[in-house]
């Protein structure tokens, strides 16, 4: 049996909610347990209401939990807001001025006072972590080791102080300890805890991306900030642009010069990049853009989650051109997707868009560590060893497969000529009608090979009559829902897309044909459903849609699916 505990730590922004969550996560990770940790916060810096939702298990987790075993309330408001979410048998730890109520469902603990007793009130969060772990039945030494490690850099005094604070909390709650069923012991695990944003940064770096021009925007900033720790050891440059237009243009400029580059943005910023996207396409300059979706339109809910940019990403920029659109479902998948995005963008000389969202970008999840760096990397540039007036280098030679030989400027005798106007093979402006047809067809000719590069969707019980269909970050939620429905003897399968565009319409049509399809998406119009209708001739589908800016939970999908299955 799987042991499975869900905690929520709630309070105001600036109260260090995330610190507590991180500490708990770290202890669990060191004990070989799996976590799924989600942050929920407002678009403000201090105050308001925040929480960290932490699920812990001894088996791999695909989704966050929602019924709470432990609710940690840094203020009373948090208790009022979340007490209904406690499952029966759950307990709330509530910060108080002085020791108070103390029963199986509510435990008032004076965090600040205990911290002061330990030596400094700033360790109140560590006190809370100690209390929680006591309740979870964790041996104190595990926490102590994590704290020593964590504060090692800040000197022994700080470390000791925190251990003392943790002990205060731990002792205060010791007698509330319950058997969670976990085996608590320090274990070297082959797992990693990553967020999607972190994974995207790592994947890009592993793909030899060296230049990250960007403009800050939630939730994309996290991708870039996760590059920062590596700028000392790796020769990469992060540059904050004056706006998103500049960011995408810088990436294109760098790519033209042969350096892999990417930018990351969200909705409004992606809008501003769409002209550049078309330039990359027309000049056939490789380009990778991470669009970390957030609920809109316009500024919308800047710190919340949503999946409503699929069709925009596929159709963005005037006229038509081949592009890749990916939407990984987990951090590890994000890492792999980023590597592929760079590889494929360069191989086909097209833009690649990687869709993330706040839920995937910010959630920290334990997964098997399958991360690798390739021993060597394939680059798609031709030697620049020829070219003169009579036989110039033809940047846009009419290659049958659409992929003309690409060279680097100033790397040899061939002049590299690139323009966003329609151009002849040499790269000069051409208004000729036949040339326009030839060039349009050349660009479009890449599609068949691009389609072959697409991984098919993940199929779970594909023979079931009813299929839940999703894409991107809802993956884990759907997987768990299918499992639970199965436990309730409902034969339901799933089709989970990670590679979205271009689409192998025939293969996908076969999978979806003659099924009851239930689209599970975080948007209002079922964008994937509409896309499948267009591409694979799906005529009708049901939907489970959520567009309140909050992530799905498996429970919700299970419940809605039951209502829908005919």
């Amino acid at each position: 049996m799987k042991t499975d505990v869900t905690l929520k730590i709630a309070g105001a922004a600036g109260q260090g909610i995330q610190t507590i969550g991180d500490l708990l996560s770290e202890v669990c990770h060191q004990s070989g347990l799996f976590i799924f940790s989600v942050d929920d916060f407002e678009s403000r810096v201090r105050g308001g209401h925040n929480f960290n939702l932490l699920r812990i298990s001894d088996k791999e987790l695909a989704a966050p939990g929602n019924r709470l075993d432990i609710l940690v309330c840094i203020n009373e408001n948090a208790y009022d807001l979340h007490k209904e979410e406690l499952r029966s048998g759950g307990i709330a730890i509530v910060n108080a001025e002085k020791p108070g109520t103390r029963n199986k469902t509510r435990f008032e603990i004076p965090l600040k006072k205990l911290a002061e007793e330990a030596g400094n009130k700033i360790t109140a969060n560590t006190v809370a972590a100690g209390a929680v772990l006591a309740i979870l039945g964790t041996p104190f030494t595990l926490l102590a080791d994590v704290l020593k490690n964590r504060f090692a850099a800040k000197g022994e005094k700080i470390a000791t102080l925190n251990v003392a604070a943790a002990k205060k909390g731990f002792d205060a709650a010791k007698d509330l300890s319950r058997n969670t069923g976990f085996t608590w012991e320090a274990k070297k695990s082959h797992n990693i805890v990553l967020s999607g944003a972190q994974a995207a940064a790592l994947g890009a770096l592993a793909a030899d991306c060296r230049f990250f021009p960007f403009y800050p925007m939630s939730p994309a900033t996290g991708v870039i900030s996760n590059v920062i720790p590596y700028t000392e050891k790796l020769c990469v440059v992060v540059e904050q642009a004056e706006d998103e237009i500049a960011a995408v243009m810088m990436a294109i400029g760098a790519s033209f010069a042969g350096v892999r580059a990417m930018t990351a943005t969200s909705g409004g910023g992606f809008c501003l990049m769409t002209e550049g996207l078309g330039l990359a396409a027309m000049t056939e300059t490789p380009l990778v853009i991470v669009n970390a979706q957030r609920p809109g339109p316009a500024t919308g809910l800047p710190t919340r989650t949503g999946q409503a940019d699929l069709l925009f990403s596929i159709h963005a920029s005037q006229d038509e051109f081949p592009r890749f659109v990916f939407a990984p479902g987990t951090p590890v998948e994000t890492y792999e997707t980023m590597k592929r995005a760079f590889h494929l963008a360069e191989k086909y000389q097209v833009p690649a868009i990687v869709l993330l969202d706040q839920f995937l970008a910010n959630s920290r999840v334990t997964e098997k560590n399958s991360l690798t760096v390739a021993p060597d990397i394939e680059r798609f540039y031709e030697q620049n060893n020829s070219g003169n007036d009579d036989t110039p280098y033809l940047r846009y030679a009419l290659a049958q497969d659409g992929v003309s030989p690409q060279r680097l400027p100033c790397s040899g005798p061939g002049l590299v000529r690139v323009t966003g106007n329609e151009h002849d093979p040499e790269g000069h402006i051409s208004e000729n009608a036949a040339n326009k047809i030839a060039m349009t067809q050349k660009r479009a000719a890449k599609l068949p090979a691009m389609i072959k590069e697409m991984d098919p969707p993940l199929l779970v019980n594909p023979t079931a009559r009813v299929l839940l269909v999703g894409w991107g970050s809802t993956r884990g939620n759907i997987l768990e829902a299918v499992e639970r429905l199965g436990d309730q003897s409902m034969e339901i399968g799933a089709v989970l897309f990670k590679d979205l565009w271009p689409m192998d319409r025939k293969a996908i049509g076969k999978v979806l044909d003659n099924k009851q399809l239930i689209m599970v998406e975080q948007n209002e119009s079922s964008q994937l459903g509409r896309l499948l209708a267009q591409e694979a001739g799906i005529v009708s589908f049901d939907t489970i849609l959520k567009y309140d800016g909050r992530p799905f939970f498996p429970d919700y999908i299970v419940q809605k699916a039951k209502e829908l299955v005919k």
Binding site: P213, E239, I245, F256, A261, V373, D376, P409, C410
Partner: protein, 285 residues
């Protein structure tokens, strides 16, 4: 020995006969020849407009980008490979209108490149609308009651934004312009040459003779280009007199010396290093 002829290319030129752009093109070729930079070692980046077409009309590596966006494109190229010689051609609308924000940012980065603005005080390619440098009240087909914005003084703004090399040329003074381009290219950092350029098709006010009547060369005066306050004053001259030459030049730290990872070698020059990446990225996870 590289001569300016070496830059000739047989792609058909598309400018109007008599356009000032021809002389700018000639000055560019001369400047490149003077510095003995062969076409294959030259990267020209441009925006969209008549000026933006320039790189097509000579031999070079080139990226003819988007309207208003030549500077960030060039910035990316230069950050990727600092060994490239990057020269940017923009129109006045291109650079000071659509691209105004990038103009400010490029100056503030002090990115090491040369910007040549073909300033004809009009939107040429789109057939004669007012540009930011058109004078207040100038009547055009679309500004039929006169341009309602005051004139964009590129040189003053460049100085205000902290530019280290600010010069003005006149297309018709091709020799003088050649010198300016050479100086700008030799400057370590962002160098602006704003080039007055008659548009014979659409600007019937700021004609060649209009410019000639007002233009004078700073070299013929005692102007010291290190004098910022004086440069500000000179940059503000307009209706009556137009100083040509280097208004301001001061050494500064170019972008690639401000960024640790750009100081030593060009980003493009590193090899993929699987071991380093594994160690740095995967070891501490």
């Amino acid at each position: 020995m590289i001569t300016s002829k070496e830059f000739n290319c047989n792609y058909e030129n598309k400018w109007c006969p008599g356009c000032g752009n021809f002389q700018i093109l000639a000055a560019m070729k001369n400047a490149f020849a003077q510095q003995q930079i062969p076409p294959e070692k030259l990267t020209l980046i441009s925006g969209i407009g008549q000026a933006g077409k320039t790189p097509h009309f000579l031999k070079c590596n080139m990226f003819h980008g988007l309207h208003g966006r030549a500077l960030p494109l060039a910035t990316g190229t230069k950050i990727a490979n600092n060994d490239l010689t990057v020269v940017v051609n923009c129109g006045d609308g291109d650079c000071y209108g659509e691209g105004g924000n990038h103009f400010l940012a490029a100056i503030r980065r002090n990115i090491d490149m040369t910007l040549l603005v073909h300033n004809n005080q009009i939107y040429g390619l789109t057939k004669g609308q007012a540009s930011p440098t058109s004078s207040l009240g100038m009547v055009t087909k679309l500004q039929n009651s006169g341009t309602p914005s005051s004139q964009f003084s590129a040189l003053v703004i460049a100085l205000a934004a902290g530019a280290g090399f600010v010069a003005r040329g006149l297309s018709a003074e091709s020799g003088h312009l050649t010198e300016l381009i050479v100086k700008a290219m030799n400057y370590k950092g962002f160098a602006l040459v704003d080039i007055l350029q008659p548009c014979v098709s659409f600007n019937k006010i700021n004609t060649l003779s209009w410019y000639k009547e007002r233009a004078y060369k700073l070299a013929d005066t005692d102007h010291d280009p290190r004098d910022l306050a004086k440069a500000f004053n000179l940059a503000q001259e307009w209706e009556k007199s137009l100083p040509l030459g280097v208004l301001y030049e001061a050494a500064g730290t170019p972008f690639h010396e401000r960024v640790p990872n750009l100081k030593a070698n060009a980003l493009a020059s590193h090899n993929y290093d699987s071991k380093l990446l594994t160690d740095v990225l995967l070891q501490n996870l």
